[in-house]
Symmetry: C2
Subunit: 208 residues, 2 copies
DNA sequence: GTCTATATTCTGATAGAC
DNA sequence: GTCTATCAGAATATAGAC
């Protein structure tokens, strides 16, 4: 209890370094960040970074894994909820992943650009990072039978769902140039999409 | 003519360096690439890089601008074709941008991850890079009137169209894990999507 | 634990021979 | 134009005082 309070009020040096590293690595990637930037951002001495985390690589790996966990958490949370209809699953997914992306756009782009460099190394770790991973696979296979979906259907449905969810974040600057460009309006549009995406996906269902 | 042939058969040193730089910068970004990597990839000496391109920054800027032009070329080509219906425009766009992405996935991810670092510097150059840029704006505004679309409609339509097009490329590894994972099948699915996306967008039109 | 000073390696760029 | 050798500065990491 006291530790929690202390953490909120007065972060330890280790925490300060980690938060600075998280911010910079997530925004700019491994190669573009210098250890001096991290030390400066954390308001500590350069030597302390190595004292606490041994090396830039070790520190980066911690941040990368945590970012990946963050990113995958939403997926597994949703897939673990039981007894849902397929449509309900899609509705939940569109809502919660849009919300997550609103809060963590940087992590999303980090995953997109940085993970591929370490994909081989990471793929082995994925199962330990997400114990629910095989559960997700099963869930999808179950649904393929229940809904009588083919591989082809799954490919297009997943592409469509994810595509519709992430597009506004990828196009943000471009889209803000079209309308009034305010953050408030952008977020309103996202709220609209949370409700529209499930409806859209239903409407697309009949198309062949 | 003789120059063109010579270029194909026996690239000059300058060309070799530029191609090596294009490959590495596009795949890994500015900071992650070392000048020695480029020299090695090009099969030439490190000093020649500076001899031909003065500095790593200058070389990168050339590649960045060319990548950006490549990326935007498709957009302006389509927007410049005259006398098309709105539906026709969408159909053309889905087809040609999917084709482009198939050929240039690296450039797409490069734009996504690298451009934001230089956005301010680039924004000023954009108009000179794409003379058709203001033409595109007009095209959109025309269509808003003709089709009686609001800002809101445009926001969602653009998000939906782009989202449906790019999703398979972003999800490629994940999606290949679901089905047989062959490149051939992935490309077949892309061909399906070229035809389906316009139909899907029509089906979504009625949803409110 | 934290700091200053320094060692070590890496990296971009150049000088000068050919 | 091309190469080898080398410089100057940056960047990571450590030694050692406090």
């Amino acid at each position: 209890m006291s530790k929690k309070v202390k953490t909120l009020v007065d972060p330890t040096t280790e925490e300060k370094i980690k938060e600075a590293a998280r911010k910079l690595f997530t925004q700019k990637g491994f190669a573009a960040v210098k250890t001096r930037d991290i030390a400066s951002e954390a308001g500590i001495n350069l030597a302390l970074l190595n004292y606490y985390f041994r090396s830039k690589e070790k520190l980066f790996e911690i941040i990368m894994v945590e970012n990946l966990q963050q990113f995958l958490q939403g997926l597994s949370l949703i897939s673990n909820e039981e007894n849902k209809s397929f449509d309900d699953l899609i509705e939940k997914f569109a809502g919660s992943y849009t919300t997550w992306l609103t809060k963590n756009p940087d992590i999303f782009f980090f995953i997109l650009s940085e993970i591929k460099n370490d994909l081989a190394r990471l793929d082995m770790k994925l199962d330990s990072l997400i114990p629910e991973r095989s559960g997700m696979r099963k869930k999808i296979q179950e649904m393929m039978k229940t809904e009588k979906m083919t591989d082809q259907d799954i490919f297009h449905l997943m592409s469509n769902m994810i595509g519709l969810i992430i597009a506004p974040f990828i196009l943000k600057h471009l889209l803000q140039g079209i309308s009034d460009g305010s953050e408030k309006q952008f977020n309103e549009r996202l709220e609209e999409r949370k409700k529209l995406i499930p409806l859209w996906l239903k409407a697309m269902k009949g198309v062949k």
